[in-house]
Symmetry: C2
Subunit: 339 residues, 2 copies
């Protein structure tokens, strides 16, 4: 039996989802891939739990939820946090789930580069460092001859990066269009079905936990723009960064505009366009009943290929366990390549 | 530079598509994967062209189209055919694209097993031997420690088998539903949009080459049932064979029934259901605007997972180059694992 020791950095919704997913699937991974996955450390922004023999994934989640901190994890809780966690215990793979930071990509950038330099594989859900420094980060992984996977950065549980790389590898991708942000799709869907105002639906979405207290990254298109950059680099080989995307959000969309569109058989959706000529996120009219007509927090993407024609994928764009499932699939791919 | 010598068995639409796809993509495969792919033999049911140094893919296609036979391929044309082709030249991978035979799975079965026994990898688009003897065929590949890939058997250019295995590997699949036959979806779509009779649209589809002269395999649901068996075995681990599928085709669907459904916001689609309790192909009412509302020769499948929720994929269910693209992706996966 091989062993894979992982560190989970970031212990919000996604980090906890990863702990839950590992807890649910570690027996399957043992049976099918002959690898024992152990969480040797988990850390949030100010605390951690660290144990070289492996922590209890469920206990990590309940300690964090009960106390708001990992410091009170029995015996192994501590105040060690940030990059120091990577020096505190032996590990094989960093699972990087810290919050996206579009200013400087930190702490994801430093964590990821340090892991690479130490010869560790990395799975990330973080869009910041990739939207800002995609080429540098990917080059660093190649230089250090480690595996780096980032399916969860785009589309949540909707496979798109591995989908194109693994299942459309014979094809050249000319462009991709899609709905890449679940929160805005949820808001627009409810504005459409209920005729309510942007403000009212945003407020309700915040109460339901679908929109964040500060909804800027979602509603202003920043999140979708980060994903646009990641798809452009990873699937179309375009050397682009965040500032290359033309971004417009949904905060100016009125219920009147949606009503007018509906009358003519259209919907308003926040569409991301990824092509060599165009990196753009903007509200657009799409036909009712078209492949863009997906509701709620669903994401979708249509990939235009040379040999296979158009291929469309639809899946849940957010959710703790859903996003974690993409990270766990990435981890399994790493294990398959390694052992 | 590594070398991969392939034999293409079956030189109808799919086999010719593979030759075209290799011609289009061999430079890409050289550059990105450092492998030179050479077609060392291609054969239809009564003739072949065989050359250990490699044949010209475009010339194969034009000779076949001009003469209806490969025997007149300059210098290397011959009457060798069937299983003897595999003994006539050294090769690494069999690309098996003979017509599906649901009676006994031949000639695909014998060709595939012989290739396995000789330690060769196989890529197939053939549903017959898999629908009848899935477990035996897959076990034979494992026993001989060779790679066996069959993405093109289901969904044409719509990725589904590799999609689930590679990009949803963290998830348990509880069931799959989908539209798995392009010809019937084309006929039903046109009956819906034009109000015409089944017979008229079938006739026009035959003239357009979308339906075969003998349309039985498509319209009676046999083709979709084969695909149902392949998904059941490969993705849900169900030990099923063709006779386990409850099959009903579309030949009794009237334009009146479609009209009635439309009035209430429904469509009639030929739906395949794959679950541990149910292997079924039958015409069903689906909601307009739902994920099943895809037109023409499109295929779709919704995969129900434990961690990632529902994931849906849509793509072209048929077409020479489209289906060939799935086979070439399979070949590239084999090369990636090998070198």
């Amino acid at each position: 039996m091989n062993e894979c020791k992982v560190i989970i950095m970031g212990f919000g919704a996604v980090g906890q989802g990863v702990a839950n997913a590992i807890s649910l699937k570690k027996d399957m991974i043992k049976q099918e891939h002959n690898v024992e996955v152990k969480v040797v450390a988990a850390a949030d922004s100010s605390s951690s739990a660290i144990c070289a023999d492996g922590l209890d994934e469920q206990l990590l989640v309940s300690v964090k939820n009960d106390n708001g901190s990992l410091a009170s994890y029995p015996e192994y809780g501590s105040d060690v946090c940030g990059i120091d966690v990577l020096d505190s215990v032996e590990y094989d793979c960093l699972i990087e789930a810290t919050p996206t930071n579009i200013e400087d990509g930190e702490p994801a950038l430093s964590l990821t580069l340090k892991a690479f330099e130490e010869g560790k594989d990395v799975v990330t859900s973080n869009k910041g460092h990739l939207a800002l420094f995609f080429k540098d980060v990917v080059s660093a992984a190649e230089k250090n001859n480690v595996q780096f996977r980032y399916e969860a950065t785009v589309g949540g549980a909707m496979p798109i990066i591995n989908f194109v790389k693994d299942t459309l590898s014979s094809c050249k991708i000319s462009s991709i269009e899609g709905i890449l942000n679940g929160t805005t799709n949820y808001i627009l869907s409810r504005m459409t079905s209920e005729g309510s105002s942007y403000k009212d639906i945003l407020h309700e979405s915040q109460e339901l936990g679908i929109a964040e207290t500060d909804p800027t990254q979602d509603v202003e298109g920043i999140d979708a723009a980060c994903k646009t950059v990641i798809l452009a680099n990873s699937l179309l080989g375009i050397d682009a960064t965040y500032s290359d995307v033309d971004v417009e959000g949904i905060s100016n969309i009125t219920s009147q505009a949606i009503e007018l569109a509906k009358k003519d058989g259209y919907l308003i959706k926040l569409i991301a366009e990824v092509s060599p000529d165009n990196l753009k996120v903007s509200p657009r009219l799409v036909k009712q009943g078209s492949s863009y007509d997906v509701n709620g927090t669903l994401n979708m993407a249509t990939v235009h290929t040379d040999l296979a024609g158009d291929v469309t994928v639809v899946g849940l764009g957010a959710g703790s366990l859903e996003t974690a499932s993409a990270m766990l699939t990435d981890l399994i791919s790493i294990l398959k390549n390694k052992y």
